[in-house]
Amino acid sequence: MTPHTASGIEIVHLSHAFAGRKVLDDISLSIEEGTSVALLGPNGAGKTTLMNILCALIKPDSGRVMLDGVDLARQPDAIRRRIGAVFQDPSLDTRLTAWENLEFNGLVYGLPRRERARRIDEVLDLVELGDWRDEIVKGFSGGMKRRLEIARALMHQPRILFLDEPTVGLDPQTRARIWSYLEHLRTHRNLTQLITTHYVEEVAGHDRICIIDRGKLLANGTPEELRARHGTSMIRCMPRDAETEAALRAAYPDIRSLAGGRLGVALASPDMLDAFLATYGTRLRQIQIDEPSLETVFLSLTGRELRDRAPGDDTAAGVGEQAI
């Protein structure tokens, strides 16, 4: 007797280690059918490992995964028909044409000829690659390859779609296009989507956001919930000299060190900002005040900026920033 489990994704106490190093640490998460969840975390957080486990490419050390009501460990083959995956690294055969890549996928999923022909037209239409069907994939741009991979993942009409950083390295127009395809699939096909990203500005449109860092799930909620629960205004500043830095560190014990010698101070109240500016306003080389945003949610949860690796790229962080 199996208890009735809702469709969608159910992850229970999932842990995994590589060579003794914990990469996923007791992850539990449940995702309702037809919703989309963004998994936000910096590089090395464990996102790809989680995706690989969900696609049954690696076996987790412990924990249980139910996809569309089926236990992954017990019936991996039944699950493979119901999931589609777009991997972080490219996985097309670039020596074949777009059509041949899709035809291959139709064959390995056991679709009959007529069904294959119909669905290839359909998915190529969806990602607007109909004119390129007989071109060799090697000549495609990064964005076209990505769109073709999404088309391929949809060929067998999966119930759940996993996308691992689908927009990384793409230009803004292509990114917007990809999000609009995914939005369309969600509303028209009731497709459950789990999407990883490390672009904070891309997650606001999803039903839920999960923040993952160092293998731990730190937060899970709607964007509004996260902002209300964890969001604080932040001051990010660069002290003019070592003396000022020492004074700041003494005055604000929970101050955070950020990339490029900058410091971050969480603002508990508006008065605090006034006091800060009155005392230190003239002793800073640079200051910026962030309204509560997903970026500051991430910062306050992890103590790190998402863009640790790209100092100076603050403009891209988007939401609610003001430079003074």
Binding site: L57, S91, D93, F104, V108, G110
Partner: protein, 270 residues
């Protein structure tokens, strides 16, 4: 039964992709055509007059064949060896460029993925071996259709075993770098030690053979499985055997089963 049709489509898809890839790969095709031409036209014709002992006024060998006829089956084996063993490139390509994951998330079982790839590789290798048959007239060999059919069957068996061997190699090679090495350290030594380009005359006694060739060389030839594959093809194509005729097919089947099994163990483990 209804479950088998989708699986058969999967197997077909994986096989078809390998074949398509090979048809488009100009370099491989050029190699497959030029290699037998060079071996037969240059080495074959060049050594043809020296093959008989009577050149030196004394008949020592009793093989009633020209050197071209003797060499012909071995060149087929050489072409198969190159194509099969270098099939490792295709396997490494899939792994390095991520395509393997796209296959692994599909519902096709692991064993069938492996079988599809190896069948694809064997088909290509058999075709490359078959190309050589077109030159049969030129080597003064006339073939009946049944000979051609039997030869293709043996060639496919050999291709299957050696393609599996290529897959086993691929699992142990980290990158593309080691490839020139393959042909120089594996293919050519095996080929030269298979009695492909010189005979071990069956009419000579062991002692006489030992007087003609050093013991180690005879030993190497006799433990080399390729020797028996060449012998089997000689049996079919020019009706000449240096060894027990049953040995050839037995060795070919043995290689195919053993190497496929090892490849399967490797693939299941990853």
């Amino acid at each position: 039964m209804n479950d088998l049709i989708p699986l058969a489509r999967g197997l077909y898809g994986i096989w078809l992709r390998e074949v398509m890839r090979a048809v488009r790969d100009r370099g491989q095709l050029i190699g497959g055509v030029s290699r037998p031409l060079i071996w037969l036209l240059i080495l074959g014709i060049g050594l043809n007059p020296y093959f008989r002992g009577e050149v030196y006024g004394e008949v020592r060998f009793v093989i009633p064949y020209t050197y071209l006829q003797f060499l012909f089956p071995a060149v087929i084996v050489l072409n198969i060896m190159y194509t099969s063993i270098l099939f490792a490139v295709s396997v490494i390509w899939d792994r390095e460029f991520g395509f393997l994951r796209a296959i692994l998330v599909s519902p096709v079982p692991r064993g069938l993925i492996l079988l599809g790839k190896i069948l694809g590789g064997s088909t290509i290798a058999t075709a490359h071996g078959g190309l050589v048959l077109i030159l049969a007239r030129f080597a003064d060999i006339t073939l009946s259709w049944s000979q051609v059919g039997l030869a293709l069957l043996l060639m496919f068996g050999l291709s299957f075993g050696l393609t599996s061997f290529g897959v086993i190699l691929a699992a142990r090679v980290r990158s593309f770098e080691g490839f020139g090495v393959f042909s120089n350290t594996i293919i050519l030594p095996l080929y030269f030690c298979s009695s492909s380009i010189f005979p071990l005359d069956p009419s000579l006694t062991r002692a006489q053979t030992a007087a003609l060739y050093p013991e180690w060389l005879v030993f190497l030839v006799e433990i080399n499985p390729i020797t028996y594959a060449v012998d089997a093809l000689r049996g079919v194509l020019i009706n000449f055997h240096q060894f027990d005729p049953r040995l050839g097919p037995a060795v070919i089947i043995g290689l195919a089963v053993a190497f496929f099994f090892i490849a399967w163990l490797d693939f299941r483990r990853r």
